[in-house]
């Protein structure tokens, strides 16, 4: 089912991704930071590369490209903080490219893409310190976040920043919703990444998953109607062997 859709992603046709409200919020946040003349902070999470949360980090980096381009266009200062050593060169390159694309390569400052620390809390404190010192006006966090989400959200709020955050780590979303102005929920960050990067592999993956979700939706809808009507036909059918 998914495999056939993979074929179609090979250039035969490509899906369009729906508008993701969080991305508009990012534009707004960058705009406001520019108006106030204060910097922006971005974090792609602490997921790193080469683990099961890699897709989240990659989505974060795609959004970073978007943020950097906006920042370069509006001439706002952008701070990017990194937790994993292997992400640093990637992020720096992405920011540089985006500045180039926005026609402001001279504004790119490689010291503003900083690797703080691999240790979770050391990184978190570095970020909180930076947000406080630089009085950031926009704090954007997209990627894999764990316990540090709490510290970031609090630090950003105290710095008076507009905050846009998103992660697929479900148990951290509550803190982002409670403390940030806009929150991307779960898989939304992956879709946002695909929306920006237009990477055919990512697009195809999301498309395939959508179809599978439609199957699930149809089965549940039919199943619950049958079960309310007192029939357990579908229930019995699905409980049988797969093969």
């Amino acid at each position: 089912m998914l495999a056939t859709l993979y074929m179609s992603m090979k250039g035969i046709s490509r899906p369009t991704i729906r508008k993701i409200a969080g991305l508009d919020a990012i534009g707004e946040a960058v705009g406001r930071a520019t108006e106030m003349g204060r910097p922006i902070h971005f974090s792609p999470g602490i997921g790193g590369l080469g683990t099961d949360v890699t897709p989240q980090t990659l989505a974060g980096l795609s959004v970073l490209a978007h943020v950097a381009e906006l920042a370069a266009r509006y001439k706002a200062t952008l701070w990017t903080t990194i937790n994993r050593a292997e992400v640093q060169p990637l992020a720096a390159e992405i920011v540089r490219q985006s500045y180039l694309k926005a026609g402001a390569p001279e504004a790119y400052d490689e010291d503003k893409v900083i690797f703080l620390s691999t240790a979770q809390f050391a990184y978190a404190l570095g970020v909180v310190g930076l947000m406080h010192r630089e009085k950031v006006a926009a704090n954007i966090m997209i990627g894999g976040f764990w316990a540090e989400s709490l510290l970031f959200a609090e630090g950003g709020y105290l710095a008076g920043a507009i905050q846009v955050a998103g992660t697929a780590n479900t148990h951290q979303i509550p803190f982002f919703v409670a403390a940030c102005d806009y929150c991307l929920i779960g898989e939304e960050i992956l879709a946002a990444g695909a929306y920006i990067s237009r990477d055919p592999v990512q697009l195809g993956a999301i498309w395939g998953q959508d179809y599978a979700k439609f199957v699930a939706i149809a089965l549940i809808a039919v199943g619950i109607i049958l079960s309310l009507a007192g029939s357990d036909y579908l229930w019995k059918l699905l409980r049988g062997p797969l093969w």
């Binding site: 105290l158 008076g160 479900t170 148990h171």
Partner: protein, 285 residues
């Protein structure tokens, strides 16, 4: 959002030194430990379902107790572990202790010692309970365990060959497990056990999880998991149910701390938001 010149009472409150808050937290948590309030412990349906499932265990049934947590969450999960092993022992189950988290392995030994008094030197070690120690490679390890128990755990935690342990003679594959109980705080944990053992061999499956994981695990109840202990509250409720087996719980004072600390969090959320709403309202004028 916060202009310096119009700093109201609530703005000032927001800028209070966090160290004051920290000290308050210390006190709120410590006081009930020294002087318990003795609030009654309520009952959650998940805990009752867990208890009922263990009640159905017959003497001689093989039950796997898997320690899939690390020291970090031991304050929540170690009390669960002890209570579960105690309950299983009173039911006469044959207990297999093992674990997929490297950090958790020493807890199997401690829990056995706490419940039975001794672990390896206990006269019933090897007939009524056994500690197979750690199995690597997470989900791959679980699959291997289901396929060949003795091949995956060739020796127990103390270095004895598994094949020579009496109670392991008839435990060859996942089919020989009557019940699996995981005490888990992450990956590998509940979904992996369900995928590799519960779905494959149809064994009764129960879990004890940290409170962080609990909401997400509800989706497996009741068909895939027959019940669950949720965090410290789950453990405390379970202890209450076990009183009739002479189990001496230790969690009543901690639950009082829990009550007070929840009230503290709620009070702070309300306080913080009163200022926020007033300010927003003031600006709207």
């Amino acid at each position: 959002m916060m202009e310096e010149n119009e700093m109201s009472f609530f703005d000032k409150l927001e800028k209070v030194d966090p160290r004051l808050i920290y000290i308050l937290v210390f006190l709120i948590v410590s006081l009930p430990l020294m002087r318990p309030l003795g609030l009654p412990i309520s009952m959650s349906p998940m805990t009752v379902a867990f208890y009922d499932a263990v009640e159905k265990v017959n003497p001689g049934d093989v039950v796997v107790v898997s320690i899939d947590y690390s020291a970090a969450s031991s304050p929540e999960q170690y009390p669960q572990t002890k209570a579960v092993i105690h309950h299983l022992a009173t039911k006469g189950a044959k207990i297999i202790g093992l674990g997929f988290w490297a950090d958790g392995t020493p807890f199997i030994d401690s829990a056995l010692k706490d419940v039975f008094g001794k672990s390896k030197d206990h006269p019933k070690y090897g007939t009524d309970f056994v500690n197979l120690g750690w199995i690597p490679s997470q989900e791959v390890g679980m699959k291997a365990l289901g396929g060949d128990v003795q091949g995956t755990c060739p020796k127990d935690y103390y270095g004895t060959s598994t094949a020579t342990i009496p109670m392991m003679k008839d435990v060859k594959t996942g089919k020989d497990f009557k019940m699996v109980i995981t005490l888990s705080s992450g990956t590998p944990g509940v979904p992996e056990w369900i995928r590799q053992i519960q779905a494959q061999y149809g064994v009764t499956f129960l879990y004890g999880v940290t409170a962080v994981g609990a909401p997400g695990m509800r989706v497996y109840f009741p068909a895939q998991a027959a019940g669950g202990l949720e965090g410290l509250a789950g453990a405390a409720e379970y202890e209450v149910l076990l009183i009739k087996y002479g189990y001496k719980g230790t969690l009543a004072p901690p639950m009082d701390s829990q009550s007070l600390s929840h009230l503290l969090v709620i009070a702070f959320i309300v306080l913080g938001n009163v200022g926020y709403v007033l300010r927003k309202h003031g600006k709207a004028k």
